[in-house]
């Protein structure tokens, strides 16, 4: 066990101060007690490290993702922990996953259900609103909880060394559960209204992928920036509130197809909008396929896919760049 060469512990530093001589005052001796003591004179340690050896934290994106994927069990464990904890603290537990969207849909139907310009022939407004709420609440829930996932786990973060993105990503996984539960009242509503979804909804994996990429990018960026600028925690709540109305949840995306502002007439704003908010085309295409039985709007979806990928890449890169200081802040 003690196979170390004496002196192998630290790089020898010349001793000039009062610590120059190794003294044998230890008394009881062990076999390895006879040498190898290295004393460092504090005066010989420079005040600053060499400028050429600063640690640069650069993790290539693909490597980071593969590391994260190797530890996916951690994401699962963190999500499970949070679900179990919130389940124990709330009497209604999982039922909140149903109650929340139902109340939102009820509100929207009461307020906007009779607005003529928002109506789509043949589609009950409650179903129309519900599809939007489901898509939106996944993002809102993930963004709200995920953005504080790192600061909420600083204690654990300082004691473990798995990839830090596991914390915000676990919140997305948890939200997946709640969103899935939210599909139950939607199903009940569909049955009650006797409305059969069209087969085109089988394109859903594409929509889900776009939503996941966009959400992950936003959550990762927010979770890492908030560690340094806590004020942003307040802003995320604001973003969620504004986003609910800035995303076509209660209004159709087609409203943006024909905009006239100042010198611009009959301007199709949708491509630009889709680039900034990829959730727009996602919501819109869920409705097109599921409620109207049309094929997906591929050009807009393409823009959304590119945009969501960029959100993801930049969000991930920001996170990896900023994670270097997470444990320093406590």
């Amino acid at each position: 066990m003690t196979g170390a060469a004496p002196g192998g512990l630290a790089t020898p530093v010349p001793c000039t101060g009062g610590w120059g001589v190794a003294t044998d005052t230890g008394g009881v001796s062990r076999p390895d007690d006879d040498g190898g003591l290295l004393l460092v004179d504090p005066d010989t340690v420079p005040d600053e490290p060499p400028a050429d050896a600063y640690y640069r934290h650069r993790v290539p994106l693909l490597l980071a993702i593969s590391h994260m994927w190797q530890r996916k069990e951690i994401i699962w464990a963190l999500a499970e922990r949070d679900v179990r904890v919130s389940y124990k603290q709330a009497t209604l537990g999982m039922a909140w996953g149903i109650i929340n969207p139902v109340i939102q849909v009820l509100l929207f139907t009461l307020i906007f259900g009779h607005v003529k310009s928002l109506k789509i022939p043949g589609v009950p407004y409650a179903i129309y609103a519900f599809t939007g709420v489901i898509c939106w609440s996944y993002f809102a829930g993930s963004f709200g909880a995920g953005s504080s996932a790192v600061i909420g786990n600083l204690n654990l973060l300082q004691k473990t060394h798995f990839p830090r993105e596991c914390f915000p990503l676990s919140q997305m996984l948890e939200q997946t559960l709640y969103t899935t539960i939210g599909l139950i009242p939607l199903t009940i509503l569909l049955v009650a209204k006797g409305f059969a979804p069209h087969a085109e909804i089988l394109w859903a994996p594409v929509f889900i992928a776009i939503e996941l990429l966009f959400t992950a990018g936003m959550v990762l960026a927010a979770a890492s920036i908030i560690v340094y600028v806590r004020d942003l925690g307040q802003i995320t709540a604001l973003i969620i509130q504004i986003g609910l109305f800035a995303t076509p949840v209660i209004w159709p995306l087609s409203k943006l197809a024909n905009i006239s502002i100042g010198p611009l007439h009959h301007w199709d704003l949708r491509p630009y909008y889709s680039f900034i908010n990829p959730l727009g085309p996602v919501v819109d295409n869920v409705r097109r396929t599921m409620l109207l039985g049309q094929n997906p709007d591929w050009p807009l979806l393409g823009i959304a896919a590119v945009s969501a990928s960029l959100y993801f890449v930049f969000g991930y890169l920001i996170f990896k760049r900023l994670e270097v200081g997470f444990a320093d802040i406590s």
């Binding site: 005052t25 008394g27 040498g35 050896a53 640690y55 320093d328």
Partner: protein, 395 residues
């Protein structure tokens, strides 16, 4: 980069700095910081590790000692990759298990069983691995009757035991232990040390931070002493501990100072038979020359310690201070301490009102020559060495 065997730790010229205003994460503080950077002004930094070097081979045991704030825990966090160094290189090979203030990973809302699974997976065990160890972990933590109760209803001792037990049953190549022994009762501490030595015996590298010097001595082949963010001494545990104890002694002497006008210790001397050096098991004489406020009636306490304040033994003597210098002698029939360096501590308590005339302070040191004690088995603490004149027989 050459790859090394699992269990290797290489720390090369590692520096770590924190912002002087650490924790300031408000928006205005950040804006000021950005502003300073734009203007090109220097940032305010505090170095918490300066040029630390450490190379540990698989299966070695290294203790990190030093006063609070000397950088030990930061170094462990960097080695565990929970924190990143500012400068230099830190490489580890193999799986790292960290016992760093283990209660952090325990969630009070969950039951003991859930916590074992949750914390176990966070530490890198698969569900199957945890299931295999479950009974061992529960048994070790001594919580079998409460395993399905929420942890918030556990006593703090049970929580700590549970946390330690989970973390102690990872099959890590490198085990980092930070001051976990400060909690829990004596029995459990001994059990923890036992467990750590088992882990070490299986070939795991151990990095051990503790203020309990006896524990460091019991566990570690080598030690590194950090002070003011720098390595002060590194090498065989006993030699480093001796340096450390001596420095603490010096520090204590400087801090307490016997020059407050109350009592002065002019001379101390410890001699053995025939005025030679003191020897274990033989008669010894402690001589003190003192001067203090005349007429004070007080108890004089004299203690002998091996390191910091806790003495191995104390003797008491009632004195009435005369004017000027006076000498007291304490005769000890069989000096009960083995070879080594010891420190003389002194305190004087007034007999009238129980107030201290002089607080507990070190006043000198002396060396004992002669027989040494046997080294205890690994992982067993020696509180302080006592000389016992023992002979063995076997048939």
């Amino acid at each position: 980069m050459p790859t090394s065997a699992d269990g290797t730790v290489i720390v090369e010229h590692v520096w770590k700095r924190f912002r002087a205003d650490a924790g300031e994460a408000r928006l205005n503080a950040q804006l000021i910081r950005v502003g300073r950077r734009l203007v090109g002004k220097e940032q305010q930094w505090t170095w918490v590790l300066k040029d630390v070097n450490l190379e540990v081979k698989p299966g070695e045991t290294v203790g990190l000692i030093g006063i609070n704030g000397s950088g030990k825990s930061t170094l462990l966090k960097i080695i565990s990759h929970a924190m990143y160094q500012t400068n230099g290189r830190c490489d580890t090979y193999g799986r790292i298990g960290a016992l760093l203030e283990v209660r952090g990973g325990i969630n009070p809302q969950l039951s003991g069983r859930e916590n074992i699974y949750m914390f176990g997976s966070l530490l890198g065990l698969s569900r199957r691995q945890i299931a295999q160890r479950f009974d061992t972990i529960v048994e070790f933590a001594e919580v079998s009757t409460a395993i399905d109760r929420q942890v918030k209803f556990y006593s703090s001792g049970m929580q700590v035991r549970l946390g330690f037990s989970i973390a102690a049953h990872l099959d890590a190549d490198i085990l980092l232990v930070d001051e976990v022994l400060a909690v829990g009762d004596a029995n459990f501490q001994q059990k923890c040390l036992q467990r750590i030595s088992e882990v070490v015996a299986s070939g795991t590298t151990l990095l051990f931070v503790s203020h309990d010097l006896a524990a460091v001595e019991a566990m570690c082949d080598r030690a590194m002493w950090l002070t003011e963010s720098m390595v002060r001494a590194a090498g065989p545990t006993r030699a480093v501990l001796a340096q450390y104890r001596e420095a603490i002694e010096e520090h204590a002497a400087l801090a307490s100072g016997t020059d407050d006008g109350a009592l002065r210790v002019l001379k101390t001397e410890v001699t053995g038979p025939d005025d030679g050096p003191p020897r274990p098991g033989e008669a010894a004489k402690i001589r003190l020359v003192l001067r203090g406020p005349e007429g004070t009636s007080a108890f004089l306490f004299v203690g002998v310690s091996q390191g910091p304040a806790m003495p191995i033994f104390v003797t008491r003597h009632a004195v009435k201070l005369p004017s000027g210098e006076f000498e007291v002698r304490c005769l000890i029939r069989n000096l009960p301490i083995p070879k080594g360096r010891y420190y003389l501590w002194l305190s004087m308590i007034s007999r009238k009102n129980g107030e201290p005339v002089q607080g507990w302070a070190p006043v000198g040191h002396f060396d004992v020559f002669g027989a040494i004690t046997d080294t205890p088995p690994k992982g067993v603490l020696v509180l302080s060495p006592v000389y016992v004149d023992a002979t063995w027989e076997s048939s």
